[in-house]
């Protein structure tokens, strides 16, 4: 079932575990069976987070022998709800279809860290495995007392426990716990990704898995496909009003005046909310709020800072678009060395041939199809939020800070949103709703307009990368130099907080994981990154943060070296690799593709129409290895690239749900193709100018590949599971660049590869 409510129970009152579980249709007493006095029992108005060391925090079993897994991780469209349920059903020996999952809501779930970075299966998976195994052990202990036999004579299977050799002595989990209260401490230490749960419990031998490794259909899809599902955008709360934001004309503009004339004539208009530079409108209906916001200047193409009824100061602090790359180079707060061995300088001096290239990638956006949305109900020193954030437990703390109220008075009820692909506007809109609800003392639902999302969602940052490679007279690489200029992608400040004049109330600007890697075995190497500065627009993590871009540069440049050495690009890579898993995915991709060994660019001299080429690249993203090969055609007249076929070999160890993983890999390939071929945020010196899907086009159906073939490598029970949500994004830009070079002999070193850029490169 879905964890969301069209009308939430008692807005402003904490959604206690007890009342929530009651609302699920079971008996109250049954839900405390695992936990004794659970976190909310007897404390109906506390919004505290459950104690990870208690079984009750993770699992509930109802008398009708259905069960619920509680997890602080959230579904973002990737299928982790289903995969985590597989872990739990497996260890609990419980029917998968009778187990539902409650995710994210801060008063109901343990904080297992944000849902990002392809880390859910890898880190939350073992936490849930251990909790569920401890649940199974607790049930066996109960059954042991019930039947009066030793636990080792009991058999647990499919939610039933029986006495070995006496098939008539059998009881369901639900019946077993019926009417009793047991307080089971399972042990929990650490927090977030490092949380260790039930460390003493024995988990199953993976070789015995029956549910993990299969592909049961996703739990959420029937509801989504028949319009029975509740997205955060669908949540309606009793007494709720509709809000819209009116953002500054320029990123740093200040609000000079607001002419309120005419607003009161809009049927349903309620109130203007103005605090320093924060401007919003609240109305009885969405349409009234949209009309009021439009009068004040919230439109697709505002004519200027003074053109609408809200007047903003002239602000032109963004760099010129043409100066972006120089600005990135200049905005350096820190320098880091990633790899430095041998003497690159000496090697370059004795090289028989030196290659040098610069790769550039623009600001890109998450581009969720559903604009960010949240509902806030702020009453005095208590606050309830409905949000689709990927980090509900962090948002809870941020809102407590913003509102200046105790954390235990804040609850974030998580409800799934349109896919986010990183930190988009979902955290930002919670703050917008909080400020408006606080002002009108009613629940307020805020949904960003399309231009708010495109204009103000935090962006993936632009990168500039310089590469140099040295070949000796035999065509061997003797030196590799890769320097990356990378602005911060971790600016987590809240826009609304800054607009009300409290920019430091929450959030930080960090560096993130550099994602600048070095994987080859060249004699001399110098790999470094320079950055951490802020370059005009707010930035955040976007699927495979920075590694999509760094893989583009590294894996294209090694192709340049292979071409210069007149060697096959697969063999060239293999001759400088020691990582057995990298070698395995490259070979698996080549085999599935039918790769014929020849130097890249071998067809560059041809005049074929359209020109055909193939490209290869690989990545190691947080221990998942991916190799991708693509066949493309290039129309020399139009500059249009058509991707015919993509082959992906993917090693993330043991796969929990193969079909779910394939869905993710296909999605990564298509989305990264879109980023490669189309996507670039445009801006003038005041603000973002690509504020809709015309200004920021993404890949469409007529451009998708004819085939995406996927090979799962190293999918074995004894292999630890690493992530699958992002890694197959990384190789794509390099693969396409390399394939275009193979087809027409032209190197594309700046994304996106729009036809005009391809044409220009051909001259």
């Amino acid at each position: 079932m879905s964890a969301s409510h069209v009308t939430g129970p008692d807005p402003g009152t904490a959604l206690s575990r007890r009342s929530f579980l009651q609302s699920m249709g079971g008996l109250v007493v049954a839900f405390n069976l695992f936990g004794g006095p659970g976190p909310a029992a007897g404390a109906e108005r506390s919004s505290a987070v459950p104690d990870a060391g208690n079984l009750d925090a993770w699992l509930a079993v109802r008398p009708d022998n259905t069960a619920t897994l509680f997890t602080g991780k959230v579904e973002t469209g990737t299928g982790v709800q289903t995969a985590l349920a597989q872990f739990a059903a497996e260890e609990l020996d419980f029917p998968f279809e009778r187990l539902d999952v409650v995710m994210g809501t801060t008063s109901l779930t343990v904080d297992q860290g944000p849902t990002y970075g392809s880390m859910t299966i890898r880190y939350a998976g073992p936490q849930i495995r251990h909790a569920a195994a401890a649940g199974r052990q607790a049930l066996l202990d109960l059954a042991s007392r019930h039947f009066g036999v030793q636990a080792d004579q009991l058999v647990a299977t499919q939610g039933m426990i029986s006495v070995a050799g006496s098939p008539d002595r059998v009881i369901s989990y639900g019946k077993l716990v019926d009417g009793k209260r047991i307080d089971v401490e399972i042990g929990g230490s650490g927090k977030g990704f490092d949380l260790k749960v039930a460390p003493a419990v024995r988990t199953k031998d993976p070789a015995a898995y029956r549910i993990v490794g299969r592909s049961p259909p996703r739990k959420d899809l029937p509801g989504k496909i028949t319009a029975q599902f509740t997205y955060v955008q669908d949540v309606r709360v009793e007494g709720m009003l509709h809000g819209r934001v009116v953002r500054p004309y320029g990123v740093g503009s200040t609000l000079q005046s607001v002419d309120e004339r005419g607003l009161e004539r809009i049927p349903g208009f309620v109130q203007l909310v103005r605090r320093e530079n924060f401007l919003g409108v609240v109305a009885q209906t969405e349409w009234a709020a949209i009309q009021a916001a439009a009068k004040l200047g919230s439109t697709l193409s505002p004519a200027g800072p003074q053109a609408a009824q809200a007047k903003w100061s002239h602000w032109n602090g963004l760099p010129e678009m043409g100066e972006l790359w120089n600005t990135v180079r200049k905005t350096v707060a820190h320098d880091y060395s990633v790899a430095s061995h041998g003497s690159a300088a000496t090697a370059f001096a004795r090289a028989s041939r030196t290659l040098q290239a610069t790769y550039q990638t623009p600001f890109q956006m998450h581009g969720s199809i559903g604009p960010s949305c949240a509902i806030a109900d702020v009453r005095g020193n208590r606050a309830t939020f409905w949000s689709g954030t990927q980090m509900p437990h962090d948002v809870r703390g941020d809102m407590a800070q913003l509102l200046g109220i105790p954390r235990d008075n804040v609850e974030v009820r998580w409800v799934e949103a349109s896919g986010g692909y990183g930190r988009n506007g979902l955290e930002q809109v919670v703050a917008d709703a909080a400020i408006m609800s606080q002002a009108v003392r009613r629940p307020v639902r805020v949904q960003w307009m399309r231009w708010d999302e495109h204009g103000w969602e935090p962006k993936g940052p632009p990168l500039v990368q310089d590469l140099r490679g040295a070949l000796d007279e035999r065509g061997r690489v003797i030196a590799w130099q890769h320097h990356v200029w990378l602005p911060t992608f971790e600016d987590t400040h809240l826009i609304a907080a800054a607009l009300i004049g409290r920019p430091d109330v929450t959030g930080t600007t960090g560096i993130g994981e550099p994602a600048v890697t070095y994987a080859y075995t060249f004699e001399n190497a110098d790999v470094a990154f320079h950055g951490e500065g802020r370059v005009g627009l707010m930035t955040s993590w976007l699927r495979s943060p920075a590694q999509f871009e760094t893989t583009f540069a590294m894996e294209s440049f090694i192709d340049e070296l292979a071409a210069a050495a007149r060697q096959d690009p697969l063999d060239f890579r293999l001759s400088y690799l020691e990582d057995a898993r990298a070698i395995a995915v490259l070979k698996a991709a080549a085999e599935a593709h039918g790769w014929d060994r020849r130097p890249t660019g071998g067809r560059a001299g041809g005049r074929g129409m359209p020109a055909r080429g193939r490209g290869i690249a690989w990545v190691n993203r947080d221990d998942t290895r991916v190799a991708t090969i693509a066949d493309v055609t290039v129309d020399r007249n139009t500059g249009r690239i058509k991707v015919e076929r993509v082959v992906v070999a993917h090693d993330c160890g043991l796969v929990i749900n193969p079909d779910g993983l394939k869905n993710q890999i296909e999605g990564n390939v298509i989305q990264s193709l879109s980023r490669t071929l189309h996507e670039e945020v445009t801006f003038d010196t005041a603000h973002v100018t690509s504020r809709d899907w015309v200004g920021y086009p993404i890949l469409r159906f007529e451009e998708i590949p004819d085939r995406i073939d996927i090979v799962l490598v190293n999918n074995k029970p004894d292999q630890p599971s690493t992530g699958g949500g992002e890694p197959s994004t990384c190789p794509t830009a390099a693969v396409i660049s390399n394939a275009v070079y193979d087809a027409i002999g032209v190197r594309l070193r700046q994304t996106p590869f729009r036809p005009a850029r391809v044409k220009a490169a051909m001259i």
Partner: protein, 155 residues
């Protein structure tokens, strides 16, 4: 104040909606339907698609005044989890969704296509869906699901 009657999923509903207001808000906020989604409000992405007399329209740029007595069908009107429309059954069978926020538009656009062209080629399917945007990248499965549905609809 602005009372008007809309025929939605076979039933007449009185709604209070200004004539120039988009049909989307009458469906979502007055009738509390969840199939049609707000995506762009500009007719650019397709998330809000509904059928108007059997043809796909973007409800975010269709004013209530333009609907008149036309019959509106939303995703809810196609089928239910217990009795799904062949397109819905095919999308479930192919697991053709990720976040699924766009899927309303994909299914409604496909329903419109199949009404006018029951046996579309793969190229015709892609062409019909070309103005529907999906950000998760589920395109391959969506095309497969529609191909599957055309097979089952002919049976």
């Amino acid at each position: 104040m602005f009372k008007t009657t809309l025929n939605v999923n076979g039933v007449d509903h009185d709604v209070d909606a200004p004539p120039d207001s988009p049909l989307l808000y009458a469906l979502r906020d007055d009738l509390e339907l969840r199939g049609p989604k707000f995506g762009c409000g500009l007719g650019e992405c397709g998330a809000c698609t509904v059928l108007m007399d059997g043809t796909a329209v973007r409800s975010c740029v269709t004013p209530v005044s333009a609907v008149g007595r036309a019959r509106i069908v939303t995703l809810e009107g196609l089928g239910t989890p217990e009795k799904p429309h062949p397109l819905q059954a095919a999308f479930i069978a192919e697991q053709a969704a990720q976040c699924a926020y766009c899927i309303n538009g994909m299914i409604m656009q496909a329903a419109s296509l199949l009404r006018h062209n029951p046996r579309p080629s793969r190229g015709e399917i892609k062409s019909a869906l070309n103005d529907n945007l999906c950000r998760c990248g589920t395109h391959m499965r969506i095309v497969r699901a529609i191909e599957r549905a055309t097979g089952s609809m002919q049976e």
